[in-house]
């Protein structure tokens, strides 16, 4: 039987429903939390404040410092948050660059002949930047607020994606799938008709 409730405190819960139906327990756990429960009796007091009074703190544990930290004034906290967001935004912007090496390596592995693997690699290499470019605003949405500058990371992000796209196109070309040669445009040209007509041959007698 699984234990319910969280944290370091042991707490016995009596759940009459779960005891009688094990399978039902699993199902309700799938749905998460106590939402599926109809009723419950908390036999012990679960509030932390109540336990503070009862049990002494462990050695070296300073409750005050923790409470102090938690209760740091909002401005400082926001500063940290913005820096963090900025760093995260740059990280996101640079992600395609790391990806480039991976794609390059894959392309090199795929070789220059047209087959399923090389086609797949090439098209994923093309698709990834395109989809990333389409979703560029969405990607930077979480970092966007008044104090975070997302423009520069965005530009870097876009640039890297363009490099990725270029890489994909280059691969496409080296596979011979881009119509950059004359042969790509004349391969289905119908033969030219002749102006004159001539027939004949060996006479019948």
């Amino acid at each position: 039987m699984s234990c319910w409730g969280g944290g370091e405190k042991l707490c016995a819960r009596h759940d009459s429903g779960s005891r009688s139906r094990e399978t039902g327990m699993d199902r309700s756990s799938g749905r998460g939390g106590s939402a599926g429960r109809k009723w419950a009796i908390e036999l012990c007091d679960a509030t932390p404040s109540s336990s503070v009074r009862d049990v002494p703190d462990p050695l070296g544990y300073s409750r005050t410092s923790l409470e102090l930290e938690e209760s740091t004034p909002g401005k400082a906290k926001k500063e940290i948050d913005a820096n963090f967001k900025q760093a995260k935004a740059w990280e996101t912007a640079q992600a395609p660059f790391k990806n480039l090496f991976m794609i390059g390596f894959m392309m090199w592995m795929a070789g220059n002949t047209v087959h399923l693997f090389s086609i797949g690699i090439t098209f994923s290499a093309l698709w990834q930047p395109i989809s990333a470019l389409q979703a560029v605003n969405k990607t930077f949405e979480p970092f966007k607020d008044a104090r975070t500058d997302t423009l520069l990371p965005k530009l870097v992000f876009i640039a890297f994606n363009f490099v990725g796209l270029g890489l994909g196109l280059w691969k496409l070309n080296s596979l011979g799938l881009l119509p950059t040669h004359a042969s790509d445009w004349v391969s289905t040209l119908a033969p030219p008709p002749s102006v004159e007509f001539s027939g004949g041959g060996i006479p019948l007698f």
Binding site: A182, E196, I202
Partner: protein, 998 residues
């Protein structure tokens, strides 16, 4: 090291190729599913019956196509057949001691004995005859060399040979001209005393008799016979020691009684005594009647009896109209039967004939008189062979083997036709294919329901076979179903274009339509316009499509034009006949006022979709047909751009002409068409002392070419030179034109030309030293493949030339091409300066070749196979990639991907690539390839003595499912999947419900 590597790579490639070819080959159970093979023998000219004894009854025939065949007398099917060489015309055929068939061929120079039951060659003897009258064969009733079998006498030219019938050894030979040079011996006879007498003509004394000793062949006595009149030396008949001939005025019959120990008695009977009326033209017929001979006077046939003791003549019967006499047949004792076949009603096409068998000795007593109805569409009867059999009531019955005007063969017995063979198909001279009619109305419901049970059963069996559950009987049933699939024999078009009509024109002037499904004859027509009138012979020449309806395909029928010539020779005027392809009837015929030297179908059609044709007469005037105002207007529009060329093989000259103005002073008759003057614009004369034209090959004007460019693996482009007015001409040195061995390697040589027929410009010329003909070539798209014999290496070779255009698109950039700014598809004139590059390569080839052609597909996208008719009368499909001038010893990876095969010195031949598989197309003469509507597939029809039809997919079938694809299995799989989905869905729903209730 490198050699080893090369070897390895070659072996690797060969294995690769063989794997790839194998995948193209036919499986055993596919034989006969879509191919068919028919055996014919040709027009019968000699026949001997073998009906004695207990063995199978058969008739041995020799034909105009130089075939000797043994036919089942009950069914007419071929027991065995042997075909002699092209020049080996068969002179005589006979049976010896009931075991051997002896044939005399090649103007009396080869005698062969064939084993009667199986046609195995028993012996062969080559004689050296001297030129002279037709060779004859006589089976002697005596044994000369005491080997207990009767011997043969071969008489050819002036030479007489006695040949042993056991081993073919020459016992003795005798030159009858040894004593007198002017002696022409016509006939030989053996008297009952065993004395051989020859009768013939000599310049000084007219009739001459020669006595020959049968034991040693010595000429013992030459007796000139004094005849007061000069004799006509065309024909001489010998009946029971009476020689019969006509005098040179053809008015008197001269009979000479030849007795060994007495003087020759000559009786002259004027024809006027025998025949009342004016004698215009008379002729002794080549018949062998007992005690009588047949004489054609005017249009009547006189049977004249000869009294062998007095030499007196008496007319037995006067036969009028078309009548055919058989040779007399010894029936019993001294009775000899003769069959007389006569049309019952003159000038009627009812096909009613009366067959009489009379005893030649008395002539009045009929053994048989019956009326027979022969197939009227086969025309008149040309020959009759008689055979007797003993009925159960001890009386004699007769069978007659009848050869018709259209070369078909029938056996008559008791007034009925027992069987008929369509042997005219052995001599096809031209072919064409037509689409079948469109399906006008769909199947009636009842018909579908009737078929449904069969259909289901068939699919059930097929499914079992696919799942390997079927028993051997069921497998056999599946195979039978496939073979007689009714689907392929329907009389309307199919979606894939496999069902077509093959229209053929035979030497007898008959047009037949064969269904591609099973090769059956849909209709046949002895073209009335081409039938010989009285003494005017006609020769069929060409079969051309005249009208192929596309716009009104539902209610108009295609029409073919048959071109013929009346009264052979150079002055013979042309005959045109139009035949409806679906009905098999002659629509109309036209006698032209001019001889047809050349027919050029123009690529112009008028409003009713009739194709314009240019007929060139012997004065090089051009006649336009159809002779309508509309066609004239159309032609005048295109006149400036119409040219034609004539190849004169004898003079070694090719002359190109252009059309000038109309001839004014012609009366506008329909039989002239619209007449135009022409003038020569160019000519190429080959030096006659060093070059003789061996072969001239032009492109098929209707070939489909998909693209003008060839893209290489390096993404470069080669532009094909696709001018349709280009011909390939091969000339050889005069000595090398004939047979292999006539010329030494130093004397022989071949020159190959590519010539533009509009301007006469030689686009390319290449010489092959030490090479000789015959040259066979095929010209397709931008390449020529030709086959010849190399005297130095003593092997056959095949060369390829690919022609590329150097000034097509030029250095146009990609952007310009992208925007369509190029002149690549604008019409090209032959007068613009061409700049061609020709790539060529040569390879050894194992076989000598009888015919060569190339597969054709609907749009020209599919790869090509060169179809080679081999010396073994088989059809070999040779992938064009083996004759690619871009082959190198070690192609790069990209080139390999492009399909270039590493170069080998010889073209490999895979047994699986024979299209004819187990069959032989005996006497293969031509191959016709037609595109199916399905792009991957080409239909192939090979003809010679035999006919063979199949279809082939040069790049394998990529655009449809294979024949053996199991639709039922697919259907069942889908149904099973759907059921499984539904069931699992229901189950899961149920389970979830019960879950919720818990």
């Amino acid at each position: 090291m490198t050699l080893l590597a090369m070897q390895r790579s070659v072996i690797g490639v060969l294995i690769l190729c063989s794997v790839w070819i194998c995948s193209q080959a036919l499986y055993e159970d596919q034989v006969g599913v879509w191919d068919w093979h028919q055996q014919y023998i040709g027009k019968v000219k000699h026949a001997v019956f073998q009906t004695q004894g207990s063995g199978r009854k058969r008739v041995i025939v020799a034909t105009d196509e130089n075939a000797i065949a043994s036919l089942n007398l009950r069914t007419g099917e071929v027991y065995w057949r042997r075909v002699l060489g092209n020049s080996e015309s068969i002179d005589a055929l006979d049976l010896v001691s009931g075991k051997y068939v002896v044939s005399l061929s090649n103007e009396g120079s080869s005698v062969r004995a064939w084993h009667l039951p199986d046609g195995a060659l028993v012996w062969e003897s080559l004689l050296q005859p001297s030129p002279g009258p037709a060779a004859s064969l006589l089976v002697l009733p005596i044994d000369i060399n005491h080997d207990r079998s009767n011997d043969l006498l071969v008489f050819s030219g002036s030479m007489l040979f006695a040949v042993s019938s056991v081993d073919g050894n020459i016992i003795w030979k005798s030159d009858l001209q040894a004593t007198r040079k002017d002696l022409v011996i016509k006939k030989l006879s053996l008297s009952s005393e065993g004395l051989l007498t020859g009768v013939g003509f000599s310049e000084t004394s007219g009739l001459v008799t020669v006595d020959i000793d049968t034991r040693f062949g010595e000429v013992s006595k030459v007796t000139p016979v004094g005849v007061s009149k000069a004799l006509d030396t065309a024909e001489l008949i010998l009946i029971n020691n009476v020689a019969v001939a006509l005098d040179s005025d053809l008015t008197t019959v001269v009979t000479a009684l030849i007795k060994t120990d007495q003087d020759v008695k000559v009786v002259e009977t004027p024809l006027a005594d025998l025949f009342s009326g004016h004698v215009r033209n008379s002729q002794i017929l080549q018949t062998n009647l007992e005690g009588a001979f047949a004489l054609r006077v005017n249009d009547k046939v006189l049977v004249v009896k000869v009294d062998s003791s007095t030499g007196q003549l008496s007319v037995q019967e006067v036969l009028e109209g078309s009548v055919v006499l058989s040779d007399s047949l010894h029936v019993v004792d001294d009775k000899h039967g003769v069959a007389i076949l006569q049309a019952a009603e003159e000038k009627s096409s009812s096909g009613k004939f009366s067959l009489r068998v009379v005893y030649a000795d008395s002539w009045d007593t009929f053994a048989v008189k019956e009326s027979v109805t022969l197939d009227s569409h086969r025309g008149s009867v040309k020959k009759v062979f008689l055979n007797a059999y003993l009925r159960t009531d001890r009386s004699y019955g007769f069978r007659a083997l009848v050869v018709y005007e259209d070369h078909s063969l029938s056996l008559l017995q008791q007034g009925e036709i027992v069987w008929t063979r369509e042997d005219g198909l052995a001599s096809i001279i031209d072919t064409w294919t037509s689409e079948l009619p469109l399906e006008k109305d769909r199947h009636a419901v009842a018909e579908v329901e009737h078929d449904l049970a069969d259909w289901l059963k068939g699919h059930w069996l097929k499914l079992k076979a696919t799942l390997l559950l079927a028993s051997p009987e069921e497998l056999a049933a599946v195979q039978a179903l496939r073979l007689r699939s009714s689907d392929k024999n329907k009389m309307f078009r199919d979606h894939n274009g496999f069902r077509k009509l093959i229209i053929v024109l035979t030497k007898a002037g008959k047009v037949l339509a064969l269904h591609t499904g099973d090769g059956r004859i849909v209709w046949s027509l002895l073209v009335p316009g081409l039938r010989s009138q009285s003494d005017l012979a006609t020769t069929p020449l060409r079969l051309l499509p005249w009208q192929v309806p596309h716009r009104h395909a539902l209610d108009e029928n295609p029409i073919v034009l048959v071109v013929g010539r009346s009264d052979g020779g150079h002055a013979g005027t042309g005959i045109l006949s139009w035949v409806d392809v679906y009905q098999g009837t002659e629509l109309r015929s036209l006698k032209l006022n001019f001889p047809v030297k050349l027919v050029v179908p123009l690529p112009i059609t008028d409003a009713s979709e009739e194709q314009l044709h240019l007929f060139i007469d012997n004065e090089h005037n051009a006649h336009i047909f159809p002779a309508t105002e509309e066609s004239l207007a159309l032609f005048l529009e295109h006149k400036a751009n119409v040219f034609f060329y004539i190849v004169d093989k004898e003079k070694g000259k090719i002359v190109g002409y252009r059309i000038k103005h109309m001839v004014d002073n012609f009366s506008r008759r329909e039989s002239d068409g619209h007449v135009f003057h022409t003038e020569p614009v160019w000519s190429i004369v080959f030096p006659s002392d060093s070059e003789v034209i061996s072969s001239v090959v032009s492109k098929d004007p209707n070939e489909a070419v998909h693209t003008q460019s060839k893209v290489l693996s390096s993404r470069d482009v080669l532009y094909k030179y696709l001018n349709k007015n280009t011909i390939f001409v091969a000339t050889v040195t005069p000595k090398a034109a004939q047979h292999i061995g006539d010329a030494t390697p130093e004397e022989a040589g071949l020159v190959a030309y590519l010539i533009d027929t509009v301007t006469g410009r030689v686009l390319h010329r290449v010489t092959h030293p030490s090479v000789q003909g015959p040259v066979h070539a095929v010209f397709n798209e931008n390449w020529v493949v030709y086959h010849y014999f190399n005297l130095k290496t003593y092997r056959h070779e095949m060369s390829v030339m690919e022609i590329y255009d150097q000034n097509r698109v030029g250095d146009k950039g990609v952007v310009q091409l992208m925007l369509g700014k190029h002149n690549a598809t604008s019409p090209v004139s032959s007068y613009s300066l061409p700049s061609v590059e020709v790539k060529s390569q040569s390879y050894f080839f194992t076989f000598s070749v009888k015919a060569m052609t190339v597969t054709s597909t609907a749009r020209g996208i599919t790869g090509k196979h060169i179809l080679v008719g081999t010396v073994g009368d088989q059809l070999l499909a040779l992938d064009k990639r083996f004759v690619d001038p871009r082959r190198t010893l070690s192609p790069s990876q990209e080139e390999r991907e492009e399909g270039i095969i590493p170069l080998t010195d010889a073209i490999p031949i895979f047994p699986q690539s024979y299209l004819t598989h187990v069959h032989q197309v005996e006497g293969l003469r031509g191959v016709l390839t037609v595109p199916a509507r399905l792009e991957s597939t080409s239909l192939v029809f090979a003809y010679g003595l035999d006919l063979f039809y199949t279809r082939t997919a040069p790049s394998r079938i990529y655009d449809s499912l294979t024949e053996d694809f199991s639709y039922s299995l697919l259907l069942i799989t889908i149904v099973a999947l759907v059921i499984a989905i539904v069931v699992t869905w229901i189950l899961s729903e149920r389970k979830e419900l019960s879950e919720k209730w818990k």
